[in-house]
């Protein structure tokens, strides 16, 4: 097997990977995409609802429509796409990376890449990870699985559903299940406020009279064969169940929308540095990871709220990977970004100050804030400032920093959010 050589290989053909491959191609690199599913588009294939693309295209698109625009461009540019192709092994080689892959047509084969973009998306947190107890009856699903069953396979998982978690995916599925003929008995959220967008609270719950129970969680599932009911329970300020507030809700399906986790399994063997707060790699503004030549974007980097930002990060990672592959490599000079105050996390986690230009920073607030102020400073000097009327953890914020403002020789850059 003499491996085919590419400048850039992009792993994952969701919106992040599609944008990365287009950007790398635009920058003049030879690029191919590797996708394990039968079709490109990633999770957008099953997100048939609308609301995507307002930032990037100024239009309200459905998930498949959003993906279609990028897929058309990938096809138009003649970018090679391997589908139903699974990455078995990823290793360093002299010139960059060597990938060992398998699919039905070519059995086992290798690709070599000077630079790599990991755009592998995220996976869902499961019932056991939120510590729901009881037996293990059929009828407990994550929201993404339900979405796939209904929208791709055409099956209704159950008729009487309880949804745990008020994130957008849970809200969207409440509406979808209702429209397809199931009864959604309620959405239960452990926090005192909903996680999803107000628009989704209105259009997915209120439109259909689906009750939302805050500060309430599911603690136990009942039934041995098929789910027969769940115990719901109110929680205190520390999110601990309040004894005596248990209530039994009969239902045949429990849908979990309890969070997403970046999927970076393929990076473990390379020892890439991971940020425990985001679950994704530690990167700089080029989205370069701790491993030279390896770039990260999309939900694999951190869980994004809007697909538009996923595409943006894909474009940055793709362009950076192309530059790296085409030989424009200077050793970086990294300065860490210290997130302080009310910040949940910030990406990138460091800046390469040997470069000029602009750096895009994303952050999330640790809690709901009104009249908040973000200050970026270095060595006591303020580099930028922004005021926010309101900030909520589910919504990601984006700011652009002029890197020429960063004074030479600073040890770190401080990002501080005050409520």
């Amino acid at each position: 097997m003499s491996p085919a050589k590419w400048d850039v290989v992009v792993i994952g053909a969701g919106p992040g990977g599609l944008a990365a491959s287009i950007a790398a191609d635009k920058a003049g690199a030879s690029v191919c995409l590797v996708e394990r599913e039968a079709r490109p588009g990633g999770i957008l294939k099953q997100c048939i609802h609308d609301g995507f693309g307002l930032v990037r295209f100024g239009r309200k698109l459905t998930g498949p429509e959003y993906a279609f625009l990028d897929i058309e461009e990938v096809k138009g540019r003649g970018i090679k796409l391997f589908t139903e192709t699974f990455l078995l092994d990823l290793d360093r080689s002299e010139e960059g990376f060597v990938l060992t892959l398998q699919n039905s047509e070519e059995a086992v084969f290798r690709l070599e890449a000077k630079a790599l973009v990991a755009a592998t998306g995220c996976r869902e947190r499961t019932a056991r990870q939120v510590f729901i107890h009881g037996q293990r009856p059929a009828g407990v699903y994550t929201a993404g699985t339900v979405q796939r069953l209904i929208n791709i396979s055409g099956y209704l998982p159950g008729k009487n559903c309880v949804i745990l978690g008020s994130g957008d995916i849970g809200l969207i599925m409440a509406r979808r299940l209702t429209l397809e003929g199931a009864k959604v008995l309620g959405v239960y959220e452990i926090k005192p406020e909903p996680s999803g967008l107000t628009r989704n609270i209105v259009q997915c719950l209120e439109d259909y009279n689906i009750p939302l129970h805050l500060s309430t969680t599911v603690t136990e599932v009942h039934g041995t064969e098929r789910l027969e009911g769940v115990t719901v329970c109110r929680v205190d300020e520390n999110m601990r169940p309040l004894p005596g507030s248990e209530e039994y809700v009969p239902c045949d399906t429990l849908v979990l929308s309890v969070g997403l986790i970046p999927e970076n399994d393929i990076l473990h063997p390379l020892g890439v540095e991971i940020d425990p707060r985001t679950g994704g790699p530690v990167v700089d503004q080029l989205l370069a990871t701790s491993e030279a030549g390896l770039f990260s974007c999309g939900n694999a980097l951190h869980v994004n709220d809007l697909v538009d930002y996923v595409s943006e990060s894909g474009e940055i990672a793709g362009a950076s990977a192309a530059r790296h592959a085409l030989g424009d490599y200077r050793p970086p000079r990294h300065v860490p970004i210290l997130a302080k105050g009310e910040i949940l996390y910030a990406v990138p986690q460091r800046l390469d100050v040997s470069l000029g230009g602009q750096g895009i920073l994303y952050f999330r607030a640790a809690r709901t804030l009104t009249d908040a102020a973000l200050v970026i400073s270095a060595g006591g000097r303020v580099l930028g400032e922004k005021k926010y009327k309101s900030l909520r953890p589910p919504e990601m914020e984006r700011i652009v920093l002029d890197l020429s403002l960063v004074p030479a020789g600073e040890e770190n850059i401080v990002l501080e959010l005050r409520g």
Partner: protein, 119 residues
């Protein structure tokens, strides 16, 4: 008629109060004109884009994602679902292709949102 709403035009989420007084519609709580027109619309004729799927006769693509090309009255969503659930797609459609000319008594067409020719 009277209604309490949370505005969804921007992330600020103003709490709106809207009511009719005779011919007139009064809105309170909005910080901008977009809030006022949103409240008026929600009170008099709330409309939504319907996104769902249609059966196809292709085993490799059993369901085609679709949406209404514009908004239709909130009250007609279930009637529209009933109608759409009886459809069967016999051609490989692409985004924008019309699946149904008029959805449930409106003049809004139902269009494909995914590319069935892709594989």
């Amino acid at each position: 008629m009277e209604k309490l709403l949370v505005c969804i035009q921007c992330p600020q989420g103003c709490k709106l109060m809207v009511k009719t007084e005779g011919e007139e519609v009064l809105v309170a709580g909005n910080k901008c004109p977009r809030g006022a027109s949103y409240a008026r619309q929600e009170l008099l004729n709330p409309c939504r884009t319907l996104t769902t799927t249609v059966r196809t006769e292709f085993p490799d693509f059993p369901l085609l994602p679709v949406r209404t090309a514009g908004e239709i009255p909130l009250g007609s969503l279930f009637a529209a679902m009933g109608e759409i659930n009886r459809l069967l797609v016999r051609n490989r459609l692409r985004p924008g292709d019309v699946v149904l000319e008029r959805v449930s008594g409106t003049d809004v067409p139902l269009i494909a949102t995914a590319d069935m020719t892709l594989n």
